[in-house]
Amino acid sequence: MKVKVISRSVDEFTRERSQDLQRVFRNYDPGLRPQEKAVEYVRALNAVKLDKIFARPFIGALDGHIDAISCMAKNPSQLKGIFSGSMDGDIRLWDLASRQTVCQFPGHQGAVRGLAASTDGRILVSCGTDACIRLWNVPITSLMESDDSTKSTVEPASVYVWKNAFWGVDHQWDGELFATVGAQVDIWNHNRSQPINSFEWGTDTVISVRFNPGEPNLLATSASDRSINLYDLRMASPVRKMIMMTKTNSICWNPMEPINFTAANEDGNCYSYDTRKLDEAKCVHKDHVSAVMDIDYSPTGREFVTGSYDRTVRLFQYNGGHSKEIYHTKRMQRVFCVKFSGDGSYVISGSDDTNLRIWKAKASEQLGVILPRERKKHDYHEAVKKRYKHLPEVNRITRHRHLPRPIFKASALMRVMADAKRRKEDKRKAHSAPGSITTQPLRRRRIIKEVE
């Protein structure tokens, strides 16, 4: 007879001294854990609910300007620096970490309309309605200075006066050219008081400009004649023009796929385009109930932030039709400019109420140093959430957002209007000769024509 029975001595399975760690034994046999899937589902549900509880995206407001913020610029060489210009002509450099003004530039006579920093972060270009371009040397901040409460002021490095009021400026990536827009598109050099090149297409004012991050000679502008233009600095004339039904307020290139750009439109939608195929939008991003004023891509290229006249900031997936996040506070007024921080983890918005606001890019993200065990737990939660995201309860909780009453009402109204329109179209189609009425998808519908 051979016999063996399970026999465990207490010493082998418990720690020897009280300073030791508790001994842990694992057995991954699925038979020991009945109803795994139900447990995972409950965990996914709990994770989603926890996300809701921890969703505190607002970090702080940067107070200092005495008029509405009109434009902002990131400092490409520094993570925590951001420039802001206001309607009274004031320009400030902020330190995001300490939420303080590092430097106050004397600025312009009228409103500051455009701000751009060179890629090395040394020079700031500003332009305004006073038809002036000012170049500033950006003070190199050290820890000592940022602690110092006395703000240093600087003089502009150079001032170029031009004929018309400016609407925007953008600096070339990895070059020393910058473009200003207003009555026409002008290309400037740092060292010359005259534009080295000028483009004009139509008579209307150009309102925004963005250089392509991949191809430094390519730039996109939008004008108040509802057009979006593409220019190549190596050519004498503009490359392409596309006219939409409503004006585009701002444009941003996708930094990871620089052939694509997204346009923030006056009709409350954003349209993502492929430069090679301008007859159809790649994606229409709906949700804002009023004009979208500004747009900025995350450095990852997977999401972008928009600021709107409806007093909200929204975050979209680069290919998502609806926003995944909405940020609003009672005190925030019309949002005129938004920026993603250089590391993609914060969003900065500037609004009519003279404040800059810092938000988290992921509303429920835990800030600060995360222990490895916490990190593991977060990863597990992400995994179960991803696995069960299609289940109705999980989906409902993740999608739900509390909206301010005016926006809730406006979006309901817009939905009603869209439904009525669709119904009418359907009926018209049904009562007409077959084939006589064709409907175009929304991706094409808002485009009037494309000119080459």
Binding site: M1, I6, T14, R23, Y41
Partner: protein, 535 residues
């Protein structure tokens, strides 16, 4: 030369051992893969196909990691009992086993004789560390099984019918004469569960924190022990019974009734999920294998049956009475009857149970409750004169998981686990016959094809033809009448199918008419079209 030969032998041996290791790993991986991988052949969406393929790869990797961990990191091996020569395992006595095993194991064999307060019923915590005992005459106690010390005992001075531990050893519930009560480890009465009435059997659903009770009037009640709310209360309508068992695989509560039926219940439906006739006489005991596919029932018709719960079919019928049944973690089945305890084993892995061990108690003892101690090779026996414990090698899972059930749990770990268990508490809706259905897509019901329909009609006609007619009184039993009756039955069976067919045809023709008209006239003018004289 000798060295060379050795080298040759080594090179020959090496690949075979590697192969062995690989095949062994593959065998072990099977358990962790949790079923076959999805068939991606028919998928047209390339993106989805790629994503799913990556997922399948991940599952494979994790299964492999788990199999490797099992192979190298698990400290203990399972127990066994092997006969040599002419010996038979079922002739080996407990005394001989006690002589062969180590001292600490042989100490697990004992008889506690308390003739005044019996018969006794037992329950273990999920880690097998603590045991609750309940004597019929009001004796309740909690025993720490590692150092065999009595933690607390109390005398409630009324009939105790059942005891059960709640989620940990701090709380236990006892079904007493009029009401059932929840006590804590110190013996303080915490709650009196008046709503449940005079309860005969108690069961605790660990994942759901539900206490299921079955009372004298055949009512099944579920109470959430965290919030105290009643999760369900149902009348079985099948009379008084005290046979009740939870299926640990899916949380479905099964009851065995005096009519020979077994019903399965969940807290969210007032009708049983399953009602199966298992025995000719009353059902006397029920047990579930932890894999959820196997159920053992015993009836007063002197039969013990093993059922496949996927098909609800009998796998095996064994002769013999059993008052109580229990499956161990490794799948041994213990049957108790009178003073005899028999343990059956599935030798070949084909669910063909045969005798493994027997143990006869002192004559006159009546075995009332058999329960295997989790993670140990021990069978607890509650009988009319106390309780006993015997060694059954190969019964328990040799390796415990510290985060699932830890016999050596400290109080801090217990507290942490309690919180975790509460966070993972499952809602009662997750109790269903197949718990792996959660998170899957409901399959689309396809329309039956023409052949299937025809086959269905044919089967129904055959059934009608094969129907046996009752013998009627004189004059009504003529062969002519019998033939007529059969024909009537056939037409009656055919009728609904024919009606359905006619309906479908009508619908189709109507649709055709519509489309043909639609082509001729625009929709706006259709209302002026002359209507055809319809039948």
């Amino acid at each position: 030369m000798g060295k060379n030969e050795e080298n040759d032998a080594l090179t020959k041996n090496k690949p075979s051992t590697e192969k062995d290791i690989l095949s062994e790993l593959e065998l072990k991986m099977k358990k962790y893969l949790r079923g076959e991988s999805a068939n991606l052949e028919g998928l047209k969406d390339k993106k989805l196909k790629g994503q799913l393929a990556i997922k399948e790869q991940l599952y494979g990797k994790s299964a492999q990691a788990a199999a490797k961990a099992e192979k190298w990191l698990m400290p203990s091996e399972g127990g066994y009992l092997e006969a040599e020569g002419l010996e038979k395992t079922w002739r080996i006595k407990q005394e001989t086993i006690a002589q062969e095993v180590d001292i600490s194991s042989s100490r697990k064999q004992y008889d506690i004789i308390l003739p005044e307060l019996g018969p006794y019923t037992l329950d273990f915590t999920s880690s097998g560390r603590y045991m609750a005992v309940g004597g019929r005459k009001g004796h309740l106690g909690i025993v720490d099984m590692i150092n065999l010390s009595l933690i607390r005992e109390l005398q409630v001075r009324e009939t105790v019918r059942d005891v059960v531990f709640l989620h940990n050893e701090l709380f236990f519930a006892a079904a007493q004469k009029k009401y059932s009560y929840i006590y804590n480890r110190e013996g303080t009465e915490l709650h009196c569960l008046k709503e449940h009435g005079p309860v005969l059997r108690l069961q605790f659903l660990k994942n759901h924190f539900l206490l299921a009770t079955l009372n004298k009037f055949g009512q099944l009640r579920y109470q959430d022990v965290t919030m105290g709310s009643m999760a369900g209360s149902f009348k079985t309508g099948l009379g008084r019974t005290d046979v009740m068992q939870v299926n640990p695989f899916n949380g479905v509560v099964s009851l065995g009734h005096s009519g020979g039926t077994v019903t399965m219940w969940k807290p969210t439906s007032s009708a049983p999920l399953v009602k199966m006739l298992c025995h000719q006489g009353p059902v006397s005991a029920l047990a579930f294998h932890s894999n959820g596919h196997l159920m053992a029932t015993a009836g007063k018709d002197k039969k013990v049956k093993l059922w496949d719960l996927r098909k609800f079919e009998v796998l095996q019928t064994l002769p013999g009475h059993a008052n109580t049944l229990d499956f161990s973690q490794k799948g041994l089945l213990a049957c108790g009857n009178g003073s005899l305890v028999q343990v059956l084993r599935d030798v070949s892995g084909t669910q063909n149970y045969s005798r493994y061990m027997t143990h006869s108690m002192v004559k006159g003892y009546q075995v009332g409750k058999l329960i295997f101690r989790p993670y140990e090779d021990v069978l607890g026996i509650g009988h009319s004169t106390g309780w006993s414990s015997i060694l059954i090698p190969g019964a328990g899972e040799p390796n415990f998981d510290s985060w699932v059930a830890n016999p050596f749990e400290t109080s801090k770990q217990r507290r942490e686990k309690e919180i975790r268990a509460l966070l993972d508490k499952l809602p009662p809706e997750t109790i269903m016959l197949d718990p792996s259905k959660i998170g899957t897509v409901k399959p689309k019901r396809e329309k039956p094809t023409k052949e299937e329909k025809e086959a269905e009609i044919e089967a129904a006609v055959e059934a009608a033809k094969g129907m046996k007619l009752k013998n009627k009184t004189k004059g009504r039993n003529k062969s002519g009448k019998r033939v007529q009756k059969k024909q009537d039955a056939v037409t009656r069976v055919k009728r609904p199918y024919l009606e359905q067919k006619i309906q479908e045809e009508e619908n189709l023709s109507r649709k055709k008419q519509k489309t043909s008209e639609g082509v001729e006239l625009p929709k706006s003018l259709q209302r002026f079209a002359r209507k055809k004289p319809s039948s």
